[in-house]
Subunit: 341 residues, 2 copies
């Protein structure tokens, strides 16, 4: 039996605390008469009706990143818990609304929130999660100077604004054939990289790092977030359904403009012609997938994910993070690229 | 020609500044490549495609209230402008999502945002407005102590949380016949009164009032907000279509559980029997309206609106607000009750 890795050890001490903090923050909704609403939020966060093989709450990568960076700059990670919870809750808010916007019926191997409760209540539950995150980020009255609180609150809000920018680009490009690779990068920068970047930056700020180091951790997070999204794009087409919890090649069925698709559309070959046809039968989806492989789109996206990961690792190394967080961060980055789900 | 009232005079100096501040805050979205998204927000805020007789941005009651209270406690209203903008933007975020949730095609006499841009982009635009409001409330770096910033930011977030609570109750009670008058009050407390109450409380806090006065302004706002909602309920059934910008008796068509309806359902008479039938033809809506009048529901709701308004006025008088804001606030309260739209 191999001993647990540094990342596993760090996660084993941090993640239970993250989960308790998440539950404490979401419990704000559990006021008299509001239990049904609170249960909706619990369902989405993965604390109820867990019948899936996957952790129904997701992997909590964002809070883990924030806490590890906090430690890596010499801070006490426990102080950053409300912020770490805020970051994870913002992510979950965006998933609730994404699933409605994309008409996606499942999330983490279970019915998406809107499929269980209907669209109107689910929109509102997303709004509630965003608001709970905004309360969590302000939840530092004891110990943290108010100036730091407003500083990290602004960072979080800026990431949320970028999130809506990326989502706008994503939704408006959907079904278009005109998305350039350049537009793809700016879309995922907002949709994914901004929040992951905020995790690293906020972790650094709460750990006591100076402004230059905060900005460099932000850049590290930006690269990591982009790598993460490209990997997600690959899994959305070639991922194992049993592991990802989404139906196979769901991104091709839904017409998502992922990096392999954007790359292949630009080639204007057989894939581009097939893509432009409206209906997406299982057979046509299989054809689209094969064409992406033949036309080099899978290889291109895989190369990009590796390039971004290496750049993130280089940025991290130059920051000289402290152990054991340094090893854990390095491992986290590499594991995100190698992940199956 | 009668001279302008104190309220008109105050509004004439404050509202143009509010509008400029709103535009400044919303312009955060106007970054490279984001003009189409910014235009969506401008459309909803009423700064474009204004072909209606009504002010397409609404009456900006909430920022006006916040600024008047700020002045009433002796503060400089200009300092409260970003917060006043935040409050109005939160209101607008909730309208964008409400219209989707309620399937309402029009807003302020124009097509609702989701009718113009589709549901997915409109959900996202609502999220963007909420985020812009959250950035606006933190926008006090110059002059205001960080402790005050986090204090008012928490108040705003608490109001947002109450807003989602009220919305959850509203959406889940819809089409039910079981809503009690008591549940109605807790629903509108969240949906309407919480935000109006936050306007008064935040105005007082930024004007330099102490905690006891802040809490009493909050109570004043709570009463005013409830009065405002009951009046809105009356207009949703008996309002003049040309003035309200909504189609006539729209609340009866949509099955909204407004106070007159809740009151009459409890009587379990002819109205209750008619209400339980599914289809809502124009003729049946007219019948429902007449039955509400016959069964005393209109009179009941009118009495409640008056009672709440008088209580709000009494609370305000006991606070000894300074002139000229005092007269303007008094007039604002009375005008909200007497309003036609």
């Amino acid at each position: 039996m191999t001993p647990p890795s540094v990342l596993d050890q760090q996660a084993a001490s941090m993640l239970p605390a993250v989960e308790r903090e998440l539950q404490r923050q979401v419990r704000r909704m559990d006021t008299p008469g509001m239990s049904p609403f609170h249960r909706m939020l619990e369902y989405h966060m993965g604390w109820s009706q867990a019948r899936s093989r996957r952790p129904p709450g997701g992997k909590r990568v964002r809070p883990l990143l924030a806490l590890l960076v906090c430690r890596a700059v010499g801070g006490r990670w426990q102080r950053a818990l409300p912020a770490a919870a805020a970051l994870e809750i913002v992510h979950n808010f965006s998933l609730v609304h994404d699933d409605i916007q994309d008409n996606s019926p499942t999330r983490r191997g279970r019915p998406a929130l809107w499929k269980v409760y209907g669209m109107p209540l689910a929109i509102n539950a997303g709004d509630a999660l965003l608001t709970i995150a905004n309360l969590a980020i302000l939840d530092f009255s004891r110990g943290t100077p108010p100036r730091t609180v407003t500083h990290v609150a602004r960072m979080l809000q800026q990431a949320c604004l970028d999130l809506t920018r990326g989502q706008h680009l994503d939704l408006s490009h959907k079904q278009q054939r005109s998305l350039t690779v350049r537009a793809y990068w700016s879309m995922i920068d907002g949709k994914t990289a901004a929040l992951i970047s905020a995790c690293a930056e906020i972790g650094a700020a709460l750990g006591g790092a100076g402004t230059p180091a905060q900005l460099r951790y932000r850049r590290f997070g930006r690269l990591l977030g982009a790598a993460f999204q490209v990997q997600d794009d690959l899994l959305g087409i070639w991922g194992d359904e049993a592991v990802t919890g989404k139906s196979a090649a769901t991104d091709l069925v839904e017409g998502k403009l992922s990096l392999p698709v954007v790359y292949a559309l630009r080639l204007n070959g057989r894939f581009a012609r097939e893509w432009s046809k409206p209906a997406r039968s299982a057979k046509r989806v299989a054809t689209l997938r094969s064409l992406l492989e033949e036309e080099g789109a899978m290889a291109y996206a895989t190369r990009q994910a590796k390039r971004l990961t290496n750049a993130a690792v280089a940025e991290l190394e130059a920051l000289h993070p402290r152990e054991p967080a340094a090893s854990a961060l390095n491992e986290l980055v590499r594991r995100l690229l190698g992940r199956q789900a």
